[in-house]
Structures are given as structure tokens and as C-alpha cells.
């Protein structure tokens, strides 16, 4: 599956438009080579949790309770990838490293990939596809319902991440894909509810989900701040969008 995803992605990558028309022929080659290395790096980053999981298996460190271990490991990997995905745009705007931007989707798809494995571990390995028991669990345990909602959002984002949908959904594509922040919030909530300890007393294992929650909030704030900055010069008259639109033609 990863192989297939990677192939699709690299195929798309090869067909993207040239970086900039001002690039001279001399400087273009190194840029392309750089892009290839970046692509390899991004895939290595995306595959790292899977490689580490295999390494832990070989080192006999899947614990005495391996199904639970894999399940939790994959869940954490999905969230890590999600945070990396959210970090792409702020990093691009802060550093101007534009070639990174086109890898955002790859990281997003890796997050979905780990989420899928996390869910399959739960459904197949942990509960042996016992649909009745799983439904009962989802209805009685808020953390499972929250996780399922987050998963459904990630599924819709992954499914519409291809160019075809981006074209056909137009403005709605952006709207839809902004829900990645909702999904991230739900994933963090799912995580926080799934560990021991309590949030109000700040006791137990709440620290890691809390840190991830702060990271997601920080990245969202960066986006919002940047959004406002960009909006400001276009509208010295911020409230009056119509005149600027009319003056265009």
C-alpha cells in the first residue's frame, strides 16, 4: 500500500509545473536534484515509524502485550505525522523554503496510512472483527467515538487529496481540508482520554497528549497570524471586499 501511495505521489511530483520561469537553465539542474533528495527525505521521514516498529520487533521489544503495543505505537505515529503535516505551511512561510510545500500532502497521506494501520490493529487484531462488540465499545467509550470521528475526517481528506478532487471541489476543497485542524484536535482529545491520569489535576500520563495539543494549537495560531498578514495589504479597507473584487477586471 505504501509502495502504491509513494508511486502515485512521485508520479504527480514529476508532473508538477516548473518552479519558476526566472530560473536559468544552469541553476535548474541542481534544484531538480535537490527536489529529488527532499522527496527521498520526506519518504524516509514518513516511513521512519514503520522502520522503527520493524526494528523493535527484531529487537524483541514488542512487549509481552504486542497487540496493544502496536496499536498505541501506530496511533502515536499517526499523530506525529499529522503534526509534521501541519508544520509544513508555517515552515514554508517563515523560511521561504518553497519546495517543501509540495510535500505536505505526502506527509498527510502518511498520517492517514498510520491511522489506517492503527484502526486495523484495533478492529482485526484486537477485536477480531467482532462488529457488535466494537459498536458497543464505541458507543460507551467517548475516546473511541472521538477517535472514530477524527478517522472519518482523515479518510475524507485522504480521499480528496488528489488533483482531480482539488479541481472539482474548487473552493470547497480548501474548506474541507481546513477540517484537518478539527481532526487534529479530535486526535489529541482521543489520545488525552485514552491515557491514565486526569487533565484537571495534571496528573498521570497526560503530559504527552498535552504537549501535542499545545503544538497543534501553536501551528494553528501561526497559520491564523500569517493569514491575517496576507489579508492586510490587500485590503486597507478590510471590511470592504467587494470594491477590490470589482476593480480587478
Amino acid at each position: 500500500m505504501t509502495g502504491w501511495i509513494c508511486k502515485q505521489i512521485s508520479r504527480k511530483m514529476n508532473t508538477v509545473a516548473p518552479l519558476s520561469t526566472s530560473d536559468s537553465i544552469i541553476t535548474r539542474k541542481p534544484v531538480k536534484a535537490q527536489l529529488a533528495w527532499l522527496r527521498v527525505g520526506i519518504h524516509l521521514l514518513g516511513l521512519y515509524p514503520l522502520i522503527q516498529l520493524a526494528h523493535l520487533l527484531l529487537a524483541d521489544r514488542w512487549t509481552a502485550n504486542p497487540i496493544q503495543f502496536i496499536e498505541q505505537y501506530l496511533g502515536r505515529a499517526a499523530l506525529d505525522m499529522l503534526v509534521l503535516t501541519l508544520a509544513v505551511t508555517p515552515v514554508v512561510t517563515l523560511t521561504g523554503w518553497k519546495s517543501l510545500a509540495r510535500h505536505r500532502r505526502t506527509l498527510g497521506l502518511y498520517s492517514f496510512f498510520y491511522f489506517s494501520l492503527h484502526f486495523l490493529t484495533f478492529a482485526v487484531l484486537d477485536y477480531n472483527l467482532d462488529v457488535r462488540e466494537m459498536l458497543r465499545l464505541i458507543l460507551e467509550k467517548p475516546y473511541l467515538l472521538v477517535g472514530l470521528l477524527a478517522g472519518l475526517i482523515l479518510l475524507s481528506l485522504a480521499a480528496t487529496s488528489f488533483r482531480y478532487w482539488r479541481k472539482h471541489l474548487g473552493r470547497n476543497w480548501k474548506r474541507l481540508h481546513k477540517t484537518v485542524y478539527l481532526a487534529s484536535g479530535l486526535v489529541v482529545l482521543h489520545y488525552a482520554l485514552a491515557v491514565k491520569g486526569s487533565l484537571d489535576a495534571l496528573s498521570g500520563d497526560i503530559l504527552r497528549p498535552l504537549v501535542m495539543g499545545l503544538l497543534v494549537s501553536f501551528l494553528l495560531i501561526l497559520r491564523l497570524v500569517n493569514h491575517q498578514k496576507h489579508a492586510a495589504p490587500a485590503g486597507a479597507h478590510t471590511g470592504l471586499v467587494q470594491p477590490t473584487n470589482l476593480s480587478k477586471p
Binding site: T63, N65, P66, K141, L193, A201, L207
Partner: protein
Amino acid sequence: MDSDPITPKQIYLSRRDFIKAAGVIGGSLILAACAPSITNLPQVVPYQPTGVLGEVEQQESLTSFEDITNYTNYYEFTTDKEGVAELAKDFQTSPWEVEVYGLVNKPKKYTVEDMVRQFQPEERVYRMRCVEGWSMVIPWVGFPLAKLLKEVEPTSTAKYVRFESIFAPDEMPGQKRPSYPWPYQEGLRLDEAMHDLTILATGLYGSELPAQNGGGIRLVVPWKYGFKSIKAVIKIELVAQQPASMWSEIAPDEYGFYANVNPEVDHPRWSQRTERRIGEFDRQDTLMFNGYADQVAHLYDGMDLQANF
């Protein structure tokens, strides 16, 4: 690794057979195979299985010594169950002293050696059900807490027993984490504490109790979730009021005082209807009172177990 879910069934079965065969020969031989450096306790009396305890021994295979000693919830060391054994390897479990005091006529301090000499530990094979939804079958070595309590003579005002663990942050790095109200403490109603199934364990698999499993000495209450079975006990106090317990202090709506294994009482995170036996692949149904209902259900006659979870 032997608990890997993809272990072929034949290998898995032969492992079970090995454990069963080894069980017949005796816990001390398994000990010899698994941890040759640990010495046998000289006082261990072979346990004669009766009733449900015998059923456990005959129909359910013992969890391996390796899994029992390397997969432990022991937050005093670390919240990582696999990391406890390493961190606990230098923890001093001997000499170990336990103070028994409070509402008793004859308060007394015991060393583990005193207790072993006086109360004659025996082998007890118990199921251990963790509130997190996993379980083990453990051949403990221990003696009924009742023997010790009878000797100190609780007064008529004593209604509960309060247990306290050691507080040694220099040896137990987890106790430096401020987010827990150390030291660990637990409690039992006096009749629960006096029940024959309730033991103080001084060993497992015929050997001394490893530090990561609660050595010098620990409580084992097999019909309650594992967190009630407090480790590294240094104080046993007879009291009149229901004592606090660490986990119910942290999250009272999740962990009650009684914490009896009960598939009908839900937990916000873990399913209590089923459990995964360590070393086995499929989940199995969790039994009322962890399978000890015949022996202990009468303790809770007329009590609302949903409210008193």
C-alpha cells in the same frame, strides 16, 4: 519472542505444553531454567490445589516467568511497563521490614525473614487481572494476611486495613515525578483482608519476589483489579475509617475503593467485559470477581456493586 501474536500455533502450543510439564515437575525447576541466580526460599511448602485455585492450575497455563517479571505496572520506577525490571535491578529488597500498627492490641515490626519463618508461605496460583484489560496467571508464594492480622489482634474498632508502600525517591526515579501523591497506599475492608484468598506474597515461581514485582513483600488480592495489590509494603495500619487509595485519589470516578473485577462495571477507557491473557492471542471474557465469585461473592451480599465499584 514467545508472546508475539504471529507465533505459529504449534510452537505456541508446545510452549504451553512445556510450561505445563514444567509445572508438574515443580516451580523450582522452572526457576532454575529461567533465573538460575535467584535462590529458592527454603520454607516454601508445596501448594495443594483445591477448588477454583486448582481449576486455575489445571486448565489455564501459567504466564511465563519472563513476562511476569518484565511486564509490570510499577509507576514508582517508570510508567513504562517494560522499563521497570531494568530500573529495579539494584533496588534493595532485603532486609525488609514491615510495621503493623494502629487499632491493634499487639503492634509489631516484622522482617520478611520473620514472616517467612512464622507464617509458612505456600504456592498460590492466581489469576491477575489488570484494570487495563490484560491478565496473567501467576504462581505466587505467600501466606494469608489473616495469619499476620490474627497475631497483632485488631481491636473491635478496627474496620479497615491501610497499606503503605516504601517511599525511596533516590532508588525509585518515578517517585520524583510530582504528579502522583506518593507514597502509594491502598486499603481493604477488614473482612476482605481476613479472607483466605488475600495473601502477602514473598515470592513467585518458587523464588524470592523480584523487586519489579513488589519485593520485599506485597499484597495479592486476586478478585480485585491489580492496582489493589500494593507492592513493596512497609506499613500495615488497622483503622476505623475507609482509607484513601492512590488511584482513587487521582481519578475517583475511574477507580473505586472496592475495585472488584466486574465485567458489568464499565471503565471509560478499557473494556472490562473482555481481557487479553498475556502470551495468548484472542481476548477472553472477564469473569465476575475474576473467577473467584464462589469464594468471595458473599462478602458483598446486598451491596450495590455498580455504585460501590
